[in-house]
């Protein structure tokens, strides 16, 4: 029994890791007022780039770096379209998803099903990793898991306790006031959306170079969309991202745990998506919950300098 609990919790943390990384990215972008619906596509492009680079160089770290760069590049396109050209963010995000999925299919075709010789290594923390139970659950993972936690803490600190965080939030909440304070509003928006894209790329690389160690079309499997929902669930707070990511990580694991009990795998596969709706519905049932679900004030709206 203890074995099962340990295994479930260990896998929950692993399954929650890509969700955590990408959700943190989306939180940053949305805090600056940019809705990036392209996460699914960016994660996919990150997964394929990370895999190809890790495969050809034999170095998963270079794969991670390349995935981050591709994520930043793709999201800068979103930035250009939405910030500079003030286009509709919903449609631009959807276009980015199609583009990301398309590019990854095109680039990844020769690599489908080939195993990665060198996956992202485990971080062996001597002493901690050997602790029974706790060591297995928390201290026996690859670098991505610890990096994601570290990034989460850093972002939480930056958003909540520093001038940078105030700048970011003011750009999303009241860009006009921010600009009168001398903040370069659109530059901050670009930085935020590109940081978010970089993190989404990294989340994708985790899937292909650490989680599965292979590339396959459709391997992101809707996680990018769940990330958009998790951002709302987290109420745009990094702390909430931790809770949401591991909760949904758990739901992904549950799906496989219940399968041997004879429940239809297809009905179980609905679980993450159904839970997303249920969680949002719970917020939506009360007026105060609906208010808390309200996004940063100018989310989705383009900012026109000196405009109305």
């Amino acid at each position: 029994m203890l074995d099962i609990i340990v295994s479930v919790l260990t896998r929950t943390i692993i399954a929650g890791t890509p969700l955590l990384i990408a959700t943190l990215g989306e939180i940053i972008a949305e805090r600056a007022g940019i809705l990036n619906l392209g996460m699914e596509g960016i994660m996919s492009a990150g997964a394929v780039t990370g895999f190809i680079i890790a495969f050809t160089t034999g170095n998963p770290w270079l794969g991670m770096l390349a995935a981050i760069l591709v994520g930043m590049l793709l999201s800068s396109l979103h930035g250009f379209v939405c910030i500079t050209l003030r286009a509709n963010q919903v449609v631009s995000g959807l276009a980015l998803t199609m583009l990301g999925l398309g590019i990854s299919g095109l680039w990844g075709k020769p690599y489908i099903g080939r195993p990665l010789p060198q996956r992202m290594p485990r971080l062996d923390i001597s002493g901690l990793s050997d602790i029974p139970v706790l060591g297995d659950i928390f201290f026996n993972h690859d670098w991505y898991v610890y990096l994601s936690v570290l990034i989460g803490i850093v972002i939480w600190f930056l958003v909540k306790h520093t001038r940078m965080g105030i700048t970011l939030r003011s750009v999303g909440e009241n860009p006009k006031a921010a600009e009168s304070q001398g903040i370069p509003v659109n530059r901050v928006k670009y930085l935020a959306v590109m940081t978010g894209g970089g993190l989404a790329g990294m989340a994708g690389a985790f899937l292909s170079t650490a989680y599965s160690g292979s590339w396959n079309e459709g391997m992101v499997a809707g996680r990018g969309w769940i990330v958009i929902a998790l951002t709302i669930f987290a109420l745009w707070r990094p702390g909430g991202a931790f809770l949401g990511a591991y909760l949904f990580g758990g739901i992904f694991v549950l799906q496989f745990m219940l399968q041997p009990l004879g429940v239809s795998p297809n009905l179980l596969a609905m679980l993450p998506y159904l839970s997303t709706l249920v969680v949002l519905l719970i917020y939506g049932l009360s007026k105060s919950g609906q208010r808390r679900m309200s996004a940063p004030a100018t989310l989705g709206e383009p900012y026109v300098r000196g405009g109305r």
Partner: protein, 361 residues
């Protein structure tokens, strides 16, 4: 030198058309760059795509076949987007429509003549798609849940449900273990033009549907309310428009149209319910771009639907002739959509380039 972006007071139809073609051209150029970077000869690939779709009788007939679902879905999406209701769930509205009409076809089909059965299956598909489409509208207005999220989640849920049906309770006894339902009775199958897969009934339904929706949007009281909601939410509230009723009806129509597309694929092409991705080649997503290229005018989806159907058919052709992956079409679609919305900027803004340094007022 300084570049100014100034709002354009008025735009002409010619200018709109010029910008539209400019965007498409720029999009093709960008696609060429992506192809070249991926080691594919861009000129050959793009030529092969259009040759595959519009370069032969067979290609043209296949293009029309695939335009039908795109027109049906795209016109419904155009209507929803007019109200800025971001329905991304057409893919699953199509599936639920197919589920409903499969049930009617398998259960009532053997006892009814075609003249009764076919309209009944269309009706049930419309109702199925409409019900599935109304869910996100209710979730948004009553519970404040973003419709992009809800429609996307409903896509995954419906797709898994279809898989559950065809491997489980609805698995056909005559299909030797394959994940298909039994064949629909003969009365449910739509006749096709000779030597093609185009059903005249279905084609008429699609064209008439797009025209009716165009009329609704631009000529009716309901369409007026939709447009006001889309253009200015505050004004809409002020003028006493019933948001709940308007958006629920809107999504019933939008979802219902996608449902019709599901029934059409079933009754004309497949003849049984099977896995979601064999029933629909991502029509629900491609139709988003179809709606956008039509400038959100449902009637224009007749043209833009044909264009993107051509890209799907051409995409299939280069998979075979050039060994390119299916995802190539996604690159095409995504890039064209990006450039279309970029083009919108130049409809509402003009660019002024001034020489010399000037001080910004």
């Amino acid at each position: 030198m300084q570049i100014d972006l100034l709002p354009r007071e008025r735009s002409t139809a010619t200018l709109n058309l010029l910008i539209l073609f400019g965007s498409l051209l720029a999009g093709l150029l960008a696609i060429s760059v992506v192809f070249a970077l991926s080691g594919v000869n861009p000129a050959l690939a793009i030529f092969s795509i259009f040759k595959g779709s519009f370069g032969s009788w067979y290609g043209i007939k296949e293009t029309v076949t695939k335009a039908i679902p795109l027109i049906l879905i795209g016109s419904g999406l155009a209507m929803a987007y007019k109200a800025k209701f971001w329905n991304i769930g057409a893919e699953s509205q199509l599936l639920v429509g197919a589920i409903f009409s499969t049930w009617v076809g398998l259960n009532w089909g053997p006892h009814l003549p075609a003249i009764v059965l076919v309209p009944l299956m269309f009706l049930s598909a419309f109702i199925g798609g409409a019900l599935w489409g109304m869910v996100p509208a209710v979730l948004k207005i009553r519970f404040g849940i973003n419709e992009v999220i809800s429609t996307l989640m409903l896509n995954y849920i419906a797709a898994e449900f279809v898989k559950f049906l065809v491997v489980g309770p609805w698995k056909g006894a005559t299909k030797g273990g394959y994940p298909y339902t039994d064949d629909l009775p003969a009365a449910a199958i739509l006749k096709q033009f000779p030597l093609s897969r185009i059903s005249p009934v279905l084609l008429s339904v699609a064209v008439a549907g797009a025209l009716i929706l165009g009329w609704l949007v631009y000529r009716s009281r309901f369409g007026y309310e939709i447009r006001v909601i889309g253009e200015n939410t505050h004004a809409a509230r002020y003028s006493g428009i019933n948001f709940f009723r308007t958006l629920v009806v809107l999504m019933a129509i939008s979802g219902g149209m996608a449902g019709l597309a599901g029934a059409g694929e079933l009754m004309s092409i497949h003849h049984y319910l099977s896995y979601p991705d064999s029933l629909s080649a991502g029509y629900g997503f491609t139709a988003i771009i179809v709606a956008w290229l039509a400038r959100l005018n449902p009637s224009f989806t007749i043209i833009s639907g044909l264009f993107f159907a051509g890209i799907i058919v051409g995409g299939d052709a280069i998979q075979i002739s050039m060994g390119m992956p299916a995802a190539t079409v996604d690159v095409f679609n995504g890039m064209i959509l990006v450039f279309l919305i970029m083009g919108d900027f130049f409809i509402s803004h003009r660019v002024r380039i001034r020489r010399g340094r000037t001080v910004d007022a």
